[in-house]
């Protein structure tokens, strides 16, 4: 097994053919031993997973809409559609979680994906509010690995978890579990360049067929995170699926932020010096 740079791989999730079977959610849980974190009924269409998190690395969103599926439909009789979309970690080109991780637990693999090393993560939680998509989270379930030395330890797992794009399967030459299990090829795995071409062709076809609201999301390498390693074809605005419409990696402003901090540091010292001028009254 070598760590030599490979071709960048990722996902193209074509939501126009998603049937909401949740096979991706199940396959991901099974392959990656992602624990169950409670069963609830939300009343939000067929979605009881609600969001990505430490214990949900694929999440199928369901949106029931009084909108036509095609814009060329005559009259309003068919003005009804059911959007389904399998969300996942975007494996950003410029990943905020990786940038802010103080331990180096988060790293970029030879496949250009973003992975947490569970044996390094110390659960500082910085990646959690750094992610512009709210993907990564800390796991608060009871810890499974016994501590080597029972000192300063906690009952909970306490580490950050997210999709690894099935790093272990990639190393073995297999496609990720979710893509493997998807019965409609809504989740497509492959070299990113190839996926981008395929997505453009698919979008052209849907637009020619007057599909309502078809658009690509995250395919543009010039966007705020340098393009997603896992991008989407959506049928409505991103925020309808719970996705940010124009995400930006916070570290794109890091130079400016450090400059401001440096000026504030100087101002603090000058302020203290000024406080000592004016004698002892």
């Amino acid at each position: 097994m070598s760590a030599v740079a490979q071709e960048r791989v990722g996902f193209f999730t074509d939501t126009s053919v998603c049937i909401g079977c949740k096979a991706c959610e199940v396959a991901c849980k099974e392959w990656n031993l992602v624990p169950e974190d409670g069963l609830v009924w939300t009343g939000e269409s067929y979605d009881n997973t609600s969001a990505l998190g430490a214990n949900s690395w694929r999440h199928v969103a369901f949106i029931e809409q009084n909108e036509p599926l095609h814009t060329d439909a005559e009259g309003d009789v068919d003005a009804l559609r059911w959007l389904m979309s399998s969300d996942v970690c975007k494996h950003c080109t410029h990943a905020a979680c990786l940038d802010v991780c103080p331990t180096g637990a988060l790293f970029r693999t030879e496949f250009d994906t973003v992975v947490v090393q569970e044996d390094v993560c110390n659960g500082c939680g910085y990646c959690v509010p750094a992610c512009p998509f709210g993907v990564i989270d800390r796991r608060n379930l009871p810890r499974q690995d016994p501590p080597a030395v029972p000192l300063l330890t906690r009952e909970e797992d306490g580490r950050a978890w997210k999709c690894t794009l099935c790093y272990d399967r990639l190393q073995g030459g297999h496609e990720p579990a979710c893509a493997k299990a998807c019965p409609t090829d809504s989740i497509q795995f492959g070299p990113l360049d190839e996926l981008r071409e395929r997505a453009s062709e698919r979008l052209e076809k849907l637009q020619a067929e007057d599909w309502n609201g078809a658009r690509l999301y995250g395919h543009d390498p010039d966007d705020g995170v340098g393009g997603f390693g896992a991008f989407f074809l959506l049928l409505d605005e991103p925020e309808v699926y719970g996705l940010p419409p124009d995400p930006v990696v916070s570290t794109s402003h890091i130079a400016e932020m450090w400059k401001t901090a440096a000026v504030a540091t100087g101002a603090l010292v000058l302020g203290v010096v000024a406080g000592f001028l004016g004698g002892s009254r």
Partner: protein, 305 residues
């Protein structure tokens, strides 16, 4: 502004997982960092008692700070992994190194100073601690700004100055309590000046942020904000009016300022949760940004053939 669309009103971002230790550390880190700077300037300008007490305050705050941070970790036994790498893109990594350095220096200086041994080493340690004191007081603002939370990230211009002035006010107030009024004039001026700057900056920050800054005045963050303004301003007034004559007034005024500055940190901390919880703070500014960019692209002159 039209109502932002969302997925069943659910958040786009995750709320931070940080607990009470973190806003407490924002306060102790600021207090410790600014106190080392105060100690050095006091030493240089011949305020011996002030110099001694403020380095003790700094070392006490710097001793508590790492414990708070370790206690907040999901895997506290792996706290040393913080010093496994050094990354400028991670203010937490930079800050861990600053804190490790600063707290080592301030504790050496305070210890030697207190037992009256090795004065040169003590002075050198005081200098080292003062050098890292200001960055220690300010970097936490960069840490918060370097996230996707709108109320923190968009406040990146003001937060370092807000945290810096809050730290100076805290250090001044703590020294004004610890030193008799006759020796505490500079400390009182720092407390009063820090409070005024911090209050003005907070107002300006809220005004500039407009819609995105709403959480600072709402909910728990808003309550802390009100408590902060009440405590800091009344404490500063008390210090300015009676701190010179009465030790009691100095202690009461200093305590009010300290409580108020702690509340400032809690307000900023809580505002981040509120900002992450409501998807409109994420979606609406991003929609506007995208629209502005699209307009600019439309009106840009076309390249000639």
């Amino acid at each position: 502004m039209s109502e932002a669309r969302s997925y069943y009103g659910r958040p786009v971002l995750k709320e931070p997982v940080w607990k009470a230790e973190i806003p407490t550390y924002l306060f102790t880190g600021g207090l410790g960092g600014a106190s080392s700077v105060v100690s050095l300037v006091a030493r240089v300008s011949g305020h011996e008692l002030l110099a001694q007490r403020s380095i003790q305050i700094a070392s006490a705050a710097d001793a508590v700070s790492p414990l708070l941070l370790i206690s907040d970790l999901g895997r506290p036994e792996r706290f040393l992994n913080m010093l496994r790498v050094f990354k400028v893109t991670s203010p937490m990594s930079v800050g861990s190194w600053i804190l490790a350095y600063s707290s080592t220096a301030s504790s050496i200086s305070a210890f030697l100073n207190t037992i009256g041994r090795l004065p040169r080493v003590s002075e050198l340690a005081r200098l080292a601690s003062a050098g890292s004191g200001a960055p220690l007081a300010v970097y936490t603002a960069t840490l918060f700004s370097d996230t996707a939370i709108p109320v923190w990230h968009e406040a990146r211009r003001e937060l370092p100055f807000l945290f810096g002035s809050s730290a100076v006010a805290s250090a001044g107030a703590a020294s004004a309590i610890a030193v008799p009024p006759a020796d505490a004039a500079p400390a009182r001026r720092l407390a009063v000046g820090g409070v005024l700057v911090e209050n003005v900056l907070f107002k300006l920050m809220e005004r500039r942020l407009e819609f995105v800054g709403e959480p600072y005045s709402q909910g728990e963050a808003g309550t802390f904000r009100k408590v902060a303004a009440g405590c800091t301003l009344s404490g500063a007034a008390l210090l300015a009016a009676a701190g010179r004559r009465s030790r009691l007034a100095a202690v009461a005024g200093g305590a009010l300022v300290l409580a108020g500055e702690a509340a400032v940190r809690w307000s900023v901390f809580k505002a981040g949760f509120q900002s992450a919880r409501d998807p409109k703070y994420v979606v609406e500014p991003q929609r506007q940004r995208a629209a502005t960019r699209a307009d600019a692209a439309r009106s840009a002159p076309r390249p000639r053939p």
